[in-house]
Symmetry: C2
């Protein structure tokens, strides 16, 4: 391909690495540079020939990068970097603080309308693919209920909470959908289910030498907000077992719309993900939307968008005619 879409990555943690890997399997895209707050020489990229730049030099790439993929966190990185970088580049991000999305969208929309760029925010799987499926469910089956289940998957926030308990050396927490609840929904029942009736919490803990495991378990299980309202199990394991079996970042879940049409016909739509690597999948979604942002901007569009605003045909490198022929 002659003219590849030129991509930059801002922030090089698990998500940024996933984006680098995803670009490698998309022939129409090329990675121009990784931008980091760290000293560039200290950043070890997966690929051997990847250029690493200090994020302070980002403006020099104004005409060299078509879409910047922002891989920072939603708490502090994106609210600052998003509006700044969107004045220079088309951007993609995975802003996922659900309650703050309207404000973030407004800010990004203001900036991009001025700069003539396109920013697709809150891309990934939730928000992202799951949001799309929640919308399809309620738009197609207005009479019905939508259920989102998460897991089985590693929850970063809950794992952090367990690690802060005294006497804990290493820990992970998995969120697990309760089979019985999933099956009731899949069978067309319409149960009222609180989050703790849909999910279990399972913790794998490596205690410090000589730590009081009974006290650790008690502290975890009674922790307000995080665990007290849930059915929680705590497994104590060795450090070897932890490193062998609990360092991946699996995740997934389901969005189920259970609706009725006509007199009494049950209609079930379900979208599910089973991911060995949550950050690599999220990165893959970001990369596909980078292609869409570029195409939208090339066609004269500007402003902030979400996955709900983007025709999904734009995610593909194939032409509309090829897509109609192959996929419809």
């Amino acid at each position: 391909m002659e003219n590849k879409i030129r991509i930059g990555i801002v922030g090089y943690g698990n998500l940024g690495k996933g984006v680098e890997e995803s670009i490698q399997v998309n022939d129409d895209l090329e990675l121009v540079a990784v931008f980091s707050r760290r000293e560039p020489s200290s950043v070890n990229t997966l690929g051997a020939n990847v250029k690493v730049e200090s994020v302070t030099n980002v403006e020099q790439y104004k005409d060299k990068i078509d879409v910047m993929i922002l891989c920072g966190g939603s708490a502090t990185d994106l609210p600052e970097q998003g509006p700044e970088l969107a004045t220079i580049f088309n951007t993609i991000d995975s802003f996922d603080t659900h309650a703050k999305i309207p404000d973030y969208f407004a800010k990004m929309d203001e900036v991009t309308k001025k700069s003539g760029t396109v920013s697709i925010i809150s891309v990934g799987w939730d928000p992202g693919m799951f949001s799309m499926n929640r919308l399809l469910g309620e738009a197609i089956l207005p009479v019905g209920d939508t259920y989102t289940f998460w897991g089985k998957g590693l929850s970063q926030g809950h794992s952090d909470a367990v690690r802060r308990v005294e006497g804990v050396k290493f820990a992970v927490q998995y969120t697990i959908p309760i089979d019985e609840a999933v099956n009731r929904v899949r069978n067309g029942e319409h149960p009222d289910l609180a989050t703790n009736e849909k999910h279990l919490r399972e913790c794998y803990v490596v205690p410090e030498d000589g730590a009081n495991t009974e006290k650790i378990e008690e502290t975890i299980k009674t922790m307000p907000h995080y665990f007290a309202d849930y059915h929680t199990t705590v497994h104590f394991i060795t450090e070897d077992e932890f490193h062998a079996n609990h360092t991946k970042m699996p995740h997934g879940g389901f969005v189920i719309r259970s609706g009725k049409t006509g007199e009494a016909h049950t209609q079930i739509m379900e979208f599910s993900l089973k991911l060995d690597s949550n950050p690599e999948y999220t990165a893959s979604v970001l990369v596909a939307y980078a292609r869409a942002a570029y195409k939208l901007n090339q066609s004269g569009d500007r402003g902030a968008k979400t996955v709900l605003d983007v025709p999904i045909g734009l995610l593909s490198a194939k032409s509309p005619a090829t897509l109609r022929k192959e996929l419809l």
Copy 2:
């Protein structure tokens, strides 16, 4: 709501009836009239106050209907009605002869570009929702395989074939995904599977009095194209059992994308439908896209589209800001 989107239905079989029912549960839409080739007084609509018109009078509704939903068949109705009606109205149809979609699209695009209308073609679940999920799968996970399974569901074409066998009074044929094949795909294997390795065919037959059931079974099982290449079972049942249990039109299926990211992480995306009524679900999809066609045309768009070209936010009656707040 003050200004409802005004809908017309052309063709009043199972699909047209489903559209009528779906409009009733969408407050922002109203049904203006049903158009039929039959004598209007002979058409019994589900609703008591529905206007029925001869399809020959359709032009008189040019300024009274915003979107016409075409509920005819793909073999002969739509190739003729589509281009004709698209010169007057925005249209939605479920054209599903996969091989002829490119030609039909070209024709509809030509007509609508001239008339200034929007036509969204091939709407439904396959083509439709399944096409969207095939696209999402390959765009997000370029390294991987896509599998489509259909069923458990009633296949109209295969049921017709069974009914043509001598000695058959009533019959239905269900296409059933083979569990073992589905599970291999869901578990991240990448098997090469022909259609007959993914699906079973199950027939329920009411024989005529005194018919030779052995011969019927033999004729069905050896029927070329339809059954000979498949594992087929034939059940003979009574007429009572047939009317009690086999007059619904259930269907469904799965689109599974099994991909790899990074070094060796398996990532599975799955979309599935479990439908008590195939025509009512398809109708519900058509109605949601009617709303989108209206909005696109209002914003100045024209031309033929497919589900791959339409931002899914347009399917909802809610504002973009509300959708961002509630669904992202």
